[in-house]
């Protein structure tokens, strides 16, 4: 099982490039969603304040 997982992560020697791309995409879109939603919530809270 560990061998299969290691093989999957290794990606025929290109693991760093493939996983690097997906991690970067996750960070980029994740960061964008987090920034967008947190800013929206902060402004919503401000507008509801008396």
């Amino acid at each position: 099982m560990f061998e299969t997982l290691a093989q999957f992560l290794h990606m025929d020697g290109y693991g760093l490039y493939v996983w690097g791309s997906y991690v970067l995409a996750g960070l980029a879109y994740g960061g964008l969603v987090w920034h967008t939603v947190s800013r929206h919530k902060a402004i919503q809270k401000n507008i509801q304040a008396p």
């Binding site: 791309s21 980029a28 879109y29 964008l32 967008t36 507008i47």
Partner: protein
């Protein structure tokens, strides 16, 4: 027709209806796309496992160009009709487009190093996409470069409209010049019907493209709603500020 939908209250109503669907489709398509891209799809006979980078790189490139076209359309509506909703949409789209363009360039470099043996070449496709990133950054800078925000919006609107000339240059750069970058595999409807890729590779590509498009649309809608609220808050606080001054 635009004026009918460009009312902030009506926009808010439409955004509220669309947002749950967009988030749901994005989550499902990206979830299925990731499983397909990383587990189910086969490696390429030439590119080996690095072909999996394409399932992030190509949708990012499509989004970078699509979002810039949306910027140019908003910019046109802003400079012609000076509509507030177009200004708010322009402000919401620019950061999302900049992220998609940066991601397209970085994932392209991560693919280029093992396949071409270099991170970067100054060929027409790569250079024109780098110019697109600079255009997005220029738009971001212009928005806040003036004391009066409406001046920044107008300047960004003009730049977005003029800069749209780069979109056909990016699209056709691989045909007009001899580039290291390969031509598009799904460049037209005819190519989609008879593509240069097997269906097992088109499926994760289209799933990821659908997911990232819905995610970007949801982000743009939320950012536009935030901008509407921010301006409402600004208008609400001005009388208080004036009262404090008096």
């Amino acid at each position: 027709m635009f004026t009918r939908f460009a009312n902030p209250a009506r926009f808010d109503q439409i955004a509220r209806t669309c947002l749950p669907w967009l988030w749901a489709v994005a989550a499902m398509a990206i979830g299925c796309g990731l499983v397909d891209a990383l587990l189910l799809s086969p490696p390429d006979y030439q590119q080996s496992e690095t072909v999996r980078i394409m399932y992030v790189h190509v949708p990012s490139a499509w989004l970078a160009m699509g979002l810039y076209s949306a910027c140019a359309l908003s910019g046109l509506m802003l400079v012609v009709w000076k509509h507030t909703m177009a200004d708010m949409l322009l402000r919401a789209i620019i950061p999302v487009g900049a992220v998609a363009t940066a991601l397209c360039l970085v994932t392209g470099m991560l693919w280029g190093q093992p396949m071409w043996g270099t991170w970067w070449v100054w060929d027409a496709r790569l250079t024109s996409v780098l110019v697109l990133l600079f255009q997005y950054l220029g738009l971001l800078a212009l928005l806040d470069a003036f004391d009066r925000p409406e001046q920044g919006s107008m300047a960004a609107g003009w730049l977005a409209v003029i800069g749209v000339i780069n979109i056909p240059i990016i699209k056709y750069s691989v045909l007009w010049w001899a580039t290291l970058h390969q031509p598009d595999s799904l460049s037209s409807i005819k190519r989609v019907a008879d593509p240069a890729m097997p269906p097992e590779m088109i499926r994760p590509l289209l799933l990821m493209a659908l997911g990232l498009t819905c995610l970007s649309a949801a982000i743009v809608l939320v950012r536009t709603r935030t901008e509407v609220l921010r301006r409402k808050l600004q208008n609400k606080s001005i009388p208080i500020l004036n009262a404090e001054h008096n």
